[in-house]
């Protein structure tokens, strides 16, 4: 029981990290909280399903097309919506959240509801660790989450665009004096974050069905991880994912499975009271805020 809880807790942690990664990346670079993130996740899932089942596109191409479309969607949202309200945090949230709602509820409106909306797993089957059985899909999730974390680290630390990402994140004005077009980098960060949402969807959704409600859950989980860890902090994301991931799994196994969703919400509430900036981020001094 304990071994199983630990293993599934770890997998759950990697799922959370995967889900939060894109949201955190966009926020860390452009300062935009993309509340259409959950919608992008669901959009990507349904897009793969439509390409596969309605249009007969091979799996590999469906996945590639979906990731590219998600990135384009993010890019467009930035230029068409966010740029108009840039700098007004509340308007950014309302605009992206409203757009997300519209996208998700449109899927419901067009009757994308039911058990037939599932994505294929990468490999069928499972292995046993001790007396715990775990399917290949969950192993794939854990591996892909870790690989993506490494990839993002290498990308931001060893490429030109990555350096521009970090420059904009640290001081937009100085970056502007270096010939960096902050709007374009902002749009790229949105595209990058949305593409990560698509990857998360493609990897995670095979565990269940694609449902509109999943988009809301993803947004809440991403928010919980980012708030607990400290928005914009990669280290914070990893630590917060592990904390919330294990807490959720232990809650599900030892208390009640349907209390699982409460863990994220309680974590958000506690952190906002105790350390509002999150575990790995610094609260700005009053002077900096002005």
């Amino acid at each position: 029981m304990l071994l199983g809880t630990l293993i599934y807790g770890f997998v759950n942690s990697t799922i959370l990290a995967l889900v939060a990664m894109g949201f955190n990346l966009t926020f860390g670079i452009s300062g935009v909280a993309n509340f259409a993130y959950g919608a992008t996740y669901i959009f990507s899932g349904f897009l793969v399903w439509i390409l596969l089942n309605s249009l007969g596109v091979p799996y590999f191409f469906s996945v590639v097309i979906a990731v590219i479309c998600a990135a384009l969607l993010g890019f467009l949202i930035y230029y068409v919506v966010i740029l108009r309200v840039k700098g007004l945090a509340l308007s950014e949230v309302m605009a992206t959240f409203g757009l997300g709602l519209a996208i998700m509820e449109l899927f419901r409106y067009f009757d994308f509801v039911g058990f037939r909306y599932t994505l294929p797993v990468f490999f069928d089957g499972s292995i046993s660790i001790g007396d715990v059985y775990i399917d290949y899909q969950r192993l794939a999730i854990a591996l892909i989450a870790m690989a993506l974390t490494l990839f993002i680290y290498l990308f931001t630390h060893h490429t030109r665009i990555g350096l521009a990402f970090r420059a904009i994140a640290q001081d937009e004005r100085t970056a502007l004096t270096f010939g960096i077009n902050s709007d374009r980098i902002g749009a790229l960060s949105m595209a990058f974050g949305s593409a990560l949402a698509a990857v998360a969807a493609i990897v995670i959704l095979p565990l269940g069905t694609i449902a509109v409600e999943g988009g809301y859950d993803v947004l809440i989980n991403a928010l919980a991880v980012c708030i607990v860890g400290g928005l914009g902090s990669t280290m914070g994301i990893l630590v917060a994912s592990v904390m919330i991931g294990f807490a959720q799994t232990f809650t599900a196994n030892y208390l009640e499975p349907h209390w699982m969703m409460l863990v994220s919400l309680i974590a958000i509430a506690v952190v906002l009271v105790v350390k509002p900036s999150g575990l790995f981020s610094h609260q700005k001094e009053l002077e900096e805020r002005i």
Binding site: L163, A167, Q170, L176, T177, F178
Partner: protein, 251 residues
Amino acid sequence: MNSPAVILRVTDLCKSFGGVRAVSSVSFDLSDGELLGIIGPNGSGKTTLVNLITGFIKPDAGGIRFRGKDITGWPPYRIVTLGIARTFQMVRPFYQLPAYKNLVVPLYSPRVRRLAGGKYGDRDAVALDLLEEVGFERDAYVSYKVASALPQGYLKRLELAKCMALRPDLLVLDELFSGLSLAEVAGIVPIIEKLRFQGMTIVMIEHRLKELFRIADRVMVLNYGEKIAEGSPETVMESDAVKKAYLGSET
């Protein structure tokens, strides 16, 4: 004798914030290779003028031409690409990056890539060379420290090095000397003189008049957003308008 070409022409530039006229009808020309000092009491519109020239704010009226090209209202990143670099009065490094990495960012800028024509070599090495040029000790740990751990004197020199990395034609220094000791200023002056010798045009906003007047070709005085005097350092110093602006007047 032919007079040097005009590199920057500012005509009737105006900018108001609410009801305050921060810059009102300011015009001036800048010749290639000149060092122009801009002085004036606090709130006289000096930094606003810098922000207008470098594109951080858009003017209400008036025009800015750089090398004959109308750049009025252009965004900052395009103006930099043409060759105008600036420092900030309050230093603005990338605090989480090591000092030399702060210079790698401008070394990747479109302007430097164009000037280098594709071949740039090792940007980290170029950055370390630049740091040495502005007085960071060679091979010392200080170049690898994150900017947030550097003292003010180094940050100011880093600010200058970031501009040098862009290889600008026009360099705008917004109170580079403020907050520095006499000795630190004495360390930076030769760097500025060297840049001038290499042919760079420089605009310096300064409160440290003594140091400025020693190196400036020409000085312009702003007060309440208006140009009240202009000329060689000696004549400006003697003008009644300046004395009045700085010392106040009874009338």
